[in-house]
């Protein structure tokens, strides 16, 4: 069940054990070789042979013996005279020179401090031979290859090392992948849900795993189920609320007409009718505001923005002719045919809200300009009116629900529910777009909407 834990634990353990084993084995082997080379040196055949050569024919004999050593002899033998020069005049390896210097220095330092310990002798005196002429020769044996080189030269060990490296690499890689692959899959699923694709689930291959990832995948999917269900429930709930709130309103309006028929038209009846209509549109807007959040992104479709915008403009022009907005004209300029993706209904009502807002704030006979253009990967819609604009400190709050400018508060009957622009903002943001308001230099308000253009699919 907890196999991921076990796998990570075992993998780390294995890698660390291999490393420790290799290091310990190599170190031990190296130390052992050095020890053998030096410990056995004095009594070795090499020293005895050198001693014999010196004894029988003096320095020339020693030189001849040195020169006659076979080329496959496992060690290099150096014989240094009192001056520290090799008898054959070969260059003495730096290691040996340094060893002698260290040896001498240590003695010197003992003396300089005036605390020479008479009972202290260097642990490993160098092998020395005394020639017939009382000349002192110091013998050095250096392995022909460095210990590491020799060790590596032995092919089986090389292979073993490679094998160890490869095995540990494979284990590490498998472990890393085992951890990161599911993480990537979870990430993809999470991003997709966050983008509004509520029916996203992680695949069966993940949920059927017997480890912690499998459990996580099952939990993830049941979380996504709940999320989707609650989104559906919210839609259902808003439908029910809508129905329940509107039924009394529907009866109210029929009752009102019946009353009208009996007593004739009264000014109060008109008022009741207006208020009932206002209540109805408020209910509608609150519901569409709350419903926007729960739209499933998978239901989005490609939308020809120019066409949609033209329809909205047409409707608002129609409204300008038929309603109390006198003589306001709407100009529509478009030089692009951008394709966006989203929900046509929501986008239409967002643009409608903004445009109607502009028309209702226009002076008599004023004009509203709508422009559609493309800026890079964005489609840009600007809507400009010739109204009084909005106080700068109120610009930032314009898109808050139920926000009304001070002038609108003074004349509530002229203005809508206070939700139109909030709905527009939410809808635009649902389409990954932005909406901004600014005052125009020569009066009036300018609203700028940007929507990402849908990448062309060929």
């Amino acid at each position: 069940m907890r196999s991921l834990l076990v796998r990570i634990f075992l993998s780390f353990w294995l890698i660390i054990a291999i490393s420790i084993g290799l290091a310990a084995g190599g170190g031990y082997y190296y130390a052992e070789r050095m020890r053998q080379a030096f410990e056995n040196f004095e009594i070795s055949d090499t020293v005895i042979a050198a001693s014999n050569a010196l004894e029988s024919s003096g320095r020339p004999g020693l030189e001849a013996w040195l020169g006659d050593l076979p080329s496959n002899y496992p060690v290099n033998v150096f014989v240094l005279d009192r001056q520290g020069k090799d008898v054959l005049g070969r260059t003495v390896p730096g290691r040996i020179e340094r060893a002698i210097r260290r040896f001498d220095q240590r003695r010197d330092s003992h003396r300089e401090h005036g605390r020479e310990r008479r009972n202290l002798r260097p642990a490993r005196p160098l092998t020395q031979l005394v020639g017939p002429d009382d000349e002192l020769y110091t013998l050095f044996v250096v392995p022909k290859y460095s210990v590491y080189g020799e060790w590596v030269r032995e092919q089986t060990r090389m292979l073993l090392l490679l094998l160890a490296l490869m095995v540990s690499a494979i284990v590490s890689y498998a472990l890393a992948r085992a951890i990161t692959r599911p993480v990537h899959k979870f990430r993809e699923a999470t991003v997709s849900i966050a983008e509004g694709h509520l029916n996203t689930r992680v695949s069966d291959s993940m949920t059927q795993r017997k480890d912690e990832i499998g459990l996580l995948a099952q939990d993830f999917n049941s979380m996504a189920d709940k999320l989707q269900r609650s989104a559906q429930q919210q839609v259902e709930l808003s439908r029910n609320i809508s129905h329940e709130l509107r039924s009394p309103l529907a009866r109210l309006r029929v009752a009102l007409e019946l009353a009208r028929r009996q007593t004739g038209d009264l000014a109060e009846f008109v008022r009741i009718e207006t208020e009932a209509e206002r209540l109805d549109s408020l209910i509608g807007q609150i519901l569409s505001y709350s419903r926007l959040e729960t739209r499933d992104q998978d239901e989005s479709t490609p939308i020809k923005l120019a066409e949609l915008l033209a329809e909205v403009v047409e409707d608002v022009r129609f409204e300008c002719r038929s309603e109390g907005v006198q003589g306001v004209t709407v100009d529509f300029n478009q030089d692009q045919e951008p394709l966006v993706s989203g929900f046509a209904g929501e986008l239409t009502s967002a643009l409608e809200n903004v445009l109607r807002n502009a028309v209702h704030h226009s002076p008599k006979g004023g004009s509203v300009t709508v422009e559609l253009s493309s800026v890079g990967e964005q489609a840009r819609i600007t809507i400009e009116d010739q109204g009084t604009g909005v106080a700068d400190e109120e610009l930032a709050n314009m898109f808050e629900p139920f926000f009304r400018t001070r002038s609108a508060l003074a004349t509530p009957e002229l203005h809508g529910t206070g939700l139109g622009l909030a709905i527009a903002k939410r809808a635009i943001e649902k389409h990954s777009g932005t909406i901004r308001a600014s005052n125009r230099a020569n009066g009036g308000l300018r609203i700028e909407i940007e929507l990402p253009v849908r990448p062309a699919v060929d």
């Binding site: 509107r246 529907a250 029929v254 007409e257 009718e273 509608g284 033209a310 038929s322 209904g345």
Partner: protein
């Protein structure tokens, strides 16, 4: 023309029978009182099953159908009804619920009204549709264009001789377009003729009806004649070559 119609309706000895399917009983009762002076006799049903049973009597001239119903939904009632019946239908939808409206019109409703509605508006729409039904049965010249033929007397449409099922509204729109092939008919005129009311802003009923009509014509094999949209003006039927 309107005068003519009222005369015609007033002269009728029997009032028009209308069925309303709505779970709001009180609303139904009040509407019955409200519509009675207009010679509209309203029968109320509280759910879809009863509504479908009532409809089998065949005495109703129009159905008012609420989409939100307990049990089988208004859309299902509409779907079942349309399998065999061209009875004019006015749907009641929740305002702002575009999807219900569009699906309703696609399933063959003739018109829709957002609830809560102004009852005078409902009365006007009922009368408009009844007037259309009566009117078109009086105007009887049949028309023909390419593969398409319409017979207003029987309200039958055919494509290449094969019968084509259309709702009353779709039939009227097609007839309107067929009368002047190649000429743009304004949305206003289409509304007037097919729905008996003026075009209102934000009302895309005609567009939905046209798109249904296009689909039906295409599926029936009328590939030569196409209905085109003149943005901001109206629609026109392009005759085949």
């Amino acid at each position: 023309m309107t005068h003519d119609v009222f005369e015609l309706m007033n002269n009728a000895t029997r009032p028009a029978n209308i069925l309303i399917v709505d779970d709001d009983q009180e609303l139904g009762e009040m509407l019955r009182d409200f519509l009675a002076p207009d010679h509209l006799k309203l029968t109320a049903c509280l759910n879809g099953e009863d509504g479908l049973k009532e409809l089998q009597s065949g005495k109703f001239e129009l159905l008012i159908l609420d989409i939100m119903l307990p049990g089988i939904s208004g859309l299902d009632v509409l779907k079942k009804l349309r399998q065999s019946n061209d009875l004019p239908v006015i749907m009641l939808t929740a305002r702002g619920d575009d999807i219900d409206r569009i699906i309703g019109l696609e399933f063959g409703a003739d018109d829709y009204l957002a609830k809560p509605f102004n009852p005078r508006e409902l009365a006007a729409r009922i009368k408009a549709i009844l007037r259309r039904t009566k009117q078109s049965s009086r105007r009887s010249e049949s028309c023909e264009l390419g593969d398409i033929a319409l017979d207003p007397r029987t309200r039958r449409a055919t494509v290449n001789g094969e019968p084509l099922r259309l709702t009353g509204t779709e039939f009227e729109i097609l007839r309107c377009l067929l009368e002047t092939p190649g000429e743009v008919v304004s949305k206003d005129k289409l509304n007037e003729r097919a729905l008996g009311r003026r075009f209102m802003p934000y009302d895309r009923s005609i567009d939905t009806h046209i798109s249904n009509l296009r689909g039906k014509l295409e599926r029936a094999g009328a590939i030569n004649e196409t209905i085109q949209n003149q943005r901001g003006v109206g629609y026109l039927l392009i005759p085949g070559i």
